[in-house]
């Protein structure tokens, strides 16, 4: 699953740690999601999309789309 978290973070000038604090996970988790080593749960995906004030579909995309 691809994602645009890094781009969205850059737009808001947020570090991985800032985003991690906002959604209540560790920096390592955000790093793993950005590196596409880990697919977040639905709850976490929604929390992340809320931080960026957009929809989950805008941030997370399936590989074959």
């Amino acid at each position: 699953m691809k994602n645009t978290i890094k781009v969205e973070r850059a737009k808001l000038n947020l570090t991985q740690q800032d985003l991690a604090d906002k959604v209540g996970v560790s920096r390592q988790t955000i790093n793993s999601i950005e590196a596409e080593r880990y697919v977040p749960s639905t709850v976490l995906a929604i929390k992340i999309s809320e931080v960026f004030k957009t929809t989950v579909n805008e941030i997370f995309k399936l590989e074959d789309e």
Binding site: V25, S26, Q28, T29, S32, Y38, S41
Partner: protein, 137 residues
Amino acid sequence: MERKRNKKDIPLFPGYFKLIGSILILLAIVPAIIFISILDVTWSIPAKELFKTYTYDTFILGLFFIAWSRDKVEDELTFAIRLKSLVFAFFSIIFYVILTPLIDFLLQVNDDLTARSVVFIMLVEYLGMYYWQKRGR
């Protein structure tokens, strides 16, 4: 960082159980080194069995406490890593149990597979896999 716990979280020991586990491992290893390697004590058979039981069980309990205590950071990623590590330990112990008698037969050795050794290997594999997966994240 601690996230809010919910009902679906697996129950883990508090973080300080890692320290208790480490102390238990030391309490298992140090007497074994002192009595067997340094003092070279000759044991009666019941005493030897009792000491062996103490050493193994204390060591296993120590590993269990380390394996099953909360990390500083517990979130859904660590939960996923724990699950993967458990699956790895479970599958590999099945192969171990199946292959050990075959290897013993081929090598003509009689190395009894005990419940203790199975639990010990599972814990070591779980811990190894867990920390290997956490590394570099």
